[in-house]
Symmetry: C2
Subunit: 386 residues, 2 copies
């Protein structure tokens, strides 16, 4: 039950104490030392708002094509309406992916608008995966609302997810007709989004298979998280540029930025899943340990091999009381993970991935302002406490 | 619970007494008078066998890319292995769609092989829909075997279906790299398959919504069946030609052939669902009536408005004993449907759709032999008793 890059709650500016700081540090830590100055909160707000305002109308039009009741189920899922179809104030999440898609068009020297079909497509693919994953995982809440399968039944969750997947391709291919892209570039965009979607599905398959195992290697965990979170962020960060005709080397570099950004995001998410303060995350203490999630801190701690690592492995392998651990038992496990270095390793991994993401960005020639905005979005995604 | 163009069982040659014949007729009826001579059974066997032998290796290679256990689940679904992964003799169905895809490449003057990625893609989309529909509909048997969700669980049925949908696009887009098609034509093929898939999903949504209603108009029923069965047969009959570079008008005409062929198939399927002999279909007597399926004969009978029609409407609207009708009660309903003209209308509709399909074929210039083979496949699909 990885978070599929759905930030746990809204964080408006990316500032504040970072969970990737080690406990000894007294000031709010930057996730990465060579970051481009301080995060420009206004920049990030502008990029997210632009992604939302340009892509949402196209998204609503696309979803409006679906046969009833799939159109209404979609509107509920995106937070536009309540279960009875009445309009609500919800905005359907932070729209990081559309923001990246529009920015990537600008990285290729085109207007942001060229990226709109790409932003809509990645948002559709993301939400297709949420609809299906929530059902597979039995999750009853998403964005503080009842999930679609609990409100409209499993069949609608399956069907509307399928429809969103198909719509994603439909919208991208229409980019050639009315979005300003060439047919060849629209086809390249579909190919990259398709491969990302396949990885996303592979990642969910791996995540599900991990549930039946006591331990998972760090490499396996990184592969799963790269598939489940990295691949679609990679496609988000390149799709606008592909629609604008960037060459394959440029698109590959932008994908690497998004991919490693996804891994950095996920490392932070894994830290928050154990040590995120309940009052901030809105989730139970040690939530990921309660769910026996094979996250990076656990895998890293198990790989370390010292006494705390061995003791942790014994506790996790013990069938006794499995699934009924109390708060105190979970706290013991969290302490063992920390003692075996799992927390520190994961925090360092988040910094490493963040650095790698920014380095990939350096391979693509683009205006300095656009590069700064990519960096600001990266910091917003990585430096957070919830 | 429409059959999504999955013929009820194997029929090897398309001969024998046709269900579209009226009871008075003494000889095996042809579905359509102006058919091109008798069905050439050898032709049909050759086309089906060619579709299977050329497309199955590519299909197996594509499915082999999926992360475990999705590769094994797919192999089970296609009938290549049993639930433990041991090879079986199964062949995964009759492969009408691949046969059409290869033939359509030849209609555009290209070798049949150009259509292979198209044949594989439509087979993947078809099986994606079967995996999800079986789960949504709660169907426990498919092709005389336990369905995937009953063997591997609902999550695998969802996930493997998703993966097949993504693979379909992947394989089509690879046609540009290694299948001999241009990038533009591969993109056109993806666009048509995507639209067909969206219609297929719309059709399933409509079918599900019909379950909550007492009656459905003939128009609604035809629209649902056109979406659920016609759209993908339409794409199958055009995708090879699109990959081979046929113009849009030619592709549209081939799609119309496939679409109306699908409607003809479905009309026959609806007749078999009520009057197909159990010993031949392997399904219970009056199966569709037992499931309260809103099929064409029922809709047509309800629209007729005479005394039998009115009586039928009363019985269907009566909540008493719903879902527990015995054989005798179902026989009464079948007789009322026949008395109200539902059976005769549906048989005539099958003939009409078959004629319309062949007429569409006449709009596309192609070698006489290819046209005959299209006609032979159409007759094979429509003239059947199971």
């Amino acid at each position: 039950m990885t978070a599929t890059a759905e930030p746990r709650t809204n964080s408006q500016n990316g500032e504040g104490a970072s969970v990737v700081s080690s406990p000894e540090e007294t000031r709010p830590a930057r996730a990465v030392e060579q970051s481009v100055g301080t995060v420009d909160a206004a920049d990030v707000r502008f990029l997210l708002e632009r992604g939302r305002s340009l892509c949402t109308p196209v998204l609503r039009e696309a979803v409006g094509r679906l046969a009833p009741p799939m159109d209404r189920v979609s509107a509920y899922h995106f937070g536009w309406t309540d279960a009875e179809g009445r309009p609500t104030e919800g905005d359907g999440g932070k729209a990081v992916r559309p923001a990246l898609a529009l920015l990537s068009a600008q990285a290729a020297g085109a207007p942001a608008e060229i990226g709109i079909p790409g932003g809509v497509a990645v948002e559709l693919v993301h939400n297709f995966s949420l609809l299906h994953d929530d059902l597979m995982d039995g999750d009853e809440q998403r964005r503080h609302r009842a999930t679609v399968w609990t409100v409209f039944g499993p069949a609608q969750a399956i069907l509307v997810g399928d429809a969103m997947f198909a719509l994603a391709n439909e919208v991208l291919l229409e980019a050639a007709d009315k979005g300003g892209a060439t047919g060849v570039d629209a086809g390249r965009a579909v190919q990259r989004i398709t491969l990302a979607t396949r990885k996303l599905i592979d990642g969910q398959a791996q995540d599900l298979s991990f549930e039946h195992r006591d331990r998972v290697s760090v490499e396996e965990c990184l592969e799963m998280e790269g598939n489940k979170t990295g691949a679609l962020l990679a496609a988000s960060a390149s799709v606008g540029a592909v629609l604008a005709g960037i060459d394959d080397a440029g698109a590959d570099a932008l994908e690497r930025y998004g991919y490693h950004l996804g891994l950095a995001f996920q490392a932070v998410d894994d830290l928050l899943g154990i040590w995120g303060a309940t009052e901030v995350t809105g989730k139970p203490n040690f939530g990921d340990l309660r769910q026996r999630k094979k996250s990076l801190p656990v895998s890293a701690a198990l790989a370390e091999g010292g006494p705390a690592s061995v003791r942790l492995a014994e506790l996790l392998a013990d069938p006794e009381g499995r699934g009924h651990e109390d708060e105190e038992q979970l706290a013991v496990r969290a302490a063992l993970i920390e003692e075996a270095g799992g927390r520190a390793w994961t925090a360092e991994e988040a910094r490493r991935q963040h650095r790698t993401a920014l380095a990939a960005l350096d391979e693509v020639p683009m205006p300095a302002k656009i590069r700064e905005q990519f960096a600001a979005l990266a910091e917003f995604v990585v430096v957070r406490e919830r």
